[in-house]
């Protein structure tokens, strides 16, 4: 008998009483019904301005937040941010963002997945979550996962209209817009950190040292 059969057999035998077949049929239906309904648990009420809540929570998680009404301003904001911190003015971005006026802001931006040596990675976001100040990123050919992971500075350009209240709302959006979850859904909440040594939080473990969120409406 395979390990699979042995384990499943033991689990089956642990269930008490009732006719097995009847129980099995009922169970499959109950599972299908729960999956179809996918009911929500209790979630915090989030009245009011979602972008304001998002910004407040993101700052708490040590992300930096900038805002502009004009998406074409994003490169200028980023250039200023990098200059202030004496960071390199070069990086990589998701293909959908290469159309922004990077070079006129003095930035050398390339549209390709990040490599180890890249220091700035610019991404969009599928959506953002106000409850915790979190980004939801989907992996894909046009949205490589490495861009938000390998560079020391991760910059995400977010459409404020894509800020939802909770993780449950984010899943609903995913169900509406995608047939199935991509290979990786990454929820990102600020710069990577560790508290393994003396439970003291240190920013910049294996992922980015800083995360800059730029709220800028898409046209």
């Amino acid at each position: 008998m395979s390990a699979r059969e042995a384990i499943l057999g033991r689990i089956r035998n642990a269930r008490n009483g009732k006719d097995r077949h009847e129980q099995a049929a009922g169970a499959t239906e109950a599972i299908a019904a729960h999956l179809a309904r996918h009911p929500r648990g209790p979630a915090p009420a989030m009245p009011g301005d979602l972008p304001a809540r998002f910004r407040e929570r993101a700052l708490k998680l040590s992300s930096d937040v900038l805002e502009t009404a004009d998406r074409k301003e994003v490169p200028t904001l980023l250039a200023r941010y990098l200059n202030e911190r004496k960071l390199p003015l070069a990086g990589v971005c998701w293909p959908s963002l290469i159309g922004l006026p990077w070079s006129s802001a003095g930035l050398d931006m390339q549209s390709r997945p990040a490599r180890d040596s890249d220091l700035v990675g610019v991404t969009g976001a599928f959506c953002a979550i106000a409850e915790t100040g979190t980004l939801m990123l989907l992996s894909g050919a046009e949205t490589p996962a490495t861009t938000s992971l390998l560079p020391e500075t991760h910059v995400a350009v977010i459409d404020p209209r894509r800020i939802v209240a909770t993780m449950e709302d984010a899943w609903d959006l995913l169900r509406q817009e995608c047939r199935q979850p991509p290979r990786a859904v990454n929820f990102v909440s600020g710069p990577s950190r560790t508290a393994d040594i003396e439970q003291t939080v240190t920013l910049g473990a294996h992922g980015p040292y800083r995360v800059l969120l730029i709220l800028a409406p898409a046209r």
């Binding site: 642990a14 269930r15 648990g41 909440s189 393994d196």
Partner: protein, 468 residues
Amino acid sequence: MQNNAIDFKRQVTVKLADIKLQGALSRLQSRFVEGRSAVISEIADLPETRNAAAAIRDRVLNDLEHWLLQFEQQATARGAIVHWAETDEDVNRIVAGIARQHGVRTAAKSKSMVSEECELNDALEQAGVEVMETDLGEYILQLAHEAPSHIVAPVVHKNKEEVADLFAEKHQLPRKTGIAELCREAREILRPAFLNADMGISGANFLVAETGSALIVTNEGNGRLVTTLPRVHVAITGIEKVVPTLEDVSTLVRLLPRSATGQSITNYVSVLTGTRGDADHDGPEHFHIVLLDNGRSKLLGSDMQEMLRCIRCGACMNHCPVYQNIGGHAYGWVYPGPMGSILTPLLSGLEKSPDLPNASTFCGACAAVCPVKIPLPDLLRKLREQQMERGMKSRQETFMLKAWAWLALRPNLYALATRIAVRVMRLLGGKERLLHRLPGAHGWSDGRDFPAPAGRTFRELYRQGGRK
């Protein structure tokens, strides 16, 4: 991992006298206990949310067979390969086999307590695979050849000086002293391991049956790296980790980091489904999920089933006065604290860990903070009962408990005996009203004095005071 739980009592004496350890443990209390209490109130309706979380876990455990099958079907449909392992040795054999199949020479690993159950690293080294732990805490332990002492903060027992000495010795670099510098050094040493690894190994905090996904929470980003860069990803977890839907897992994620480290959310929550797409630039080509039983299935349908709700947040140990005083190593196996005092006997045998169910004052702090409402003291008590029934208690203890039970069933005699006892103790207590030695319980009175009773029993005082 080798089970040394039998050695508990001796270890306790050693740990209580370890001044460095005592310093380290006090930090855990201030950071994690206070951290939790600061953010847990962000959850609007905590009692309802804990009820919901317990119900989510029970839904799966009450029909684990069909939820596992649902998970397997979805995961397989997306190109993952699901393996089933009866024992820790099976996990090692399966993972070594996967490594061989894909020509793997090097592996980068993020934290997995299930792999600690298996001592996977040793098995892989023997199979010719070089394994690098990448969680900072686990990496430190790998360098020091030590076992984790906490399920969330594995290296809580070490201070930064010890880490600095260790890094200086092993990395052959000038000794750093600041925590941030130490973290940076580890990052730079480990970066090539991520980039060059053929295989990434991770745990899975949850398996989502709806989508066939493995969900991993991390802070450092190493979990993302080992599941994104190497061409093979192996996720190892227990069969009980299935959760029905994405909504259900959202409820649990609301509780897990808040209970564990006092964070509203961990830096990264990754939901991984299947292998890389044709046009993708990253992600593994092969995704293997190994499901370990190792004694879990036999808890289903028993009066211990509730233990399988556990989401490994560590809150019970952070709040446990016993853990706070002795740390995790004394418990002798992978899982310490209240949850470990139950899981270790259940998974590897009560006879191998006879002291663990008794390593509790039944203060109830663990049950009060457990996000999935596991009645930990009740389960500990049931294990004590089993010990009694199976004749595993010492003759002295059995005799005393039996004598007490005999007496307690005879109220008049009980009243008389206690009346005499409190008066004798009062006399022995003298002016200081302290007893320096308790016959038959010097383990208790070696470290502290026993306050002498007031001289009259509760019942006498009650009768005298009248009912209010």
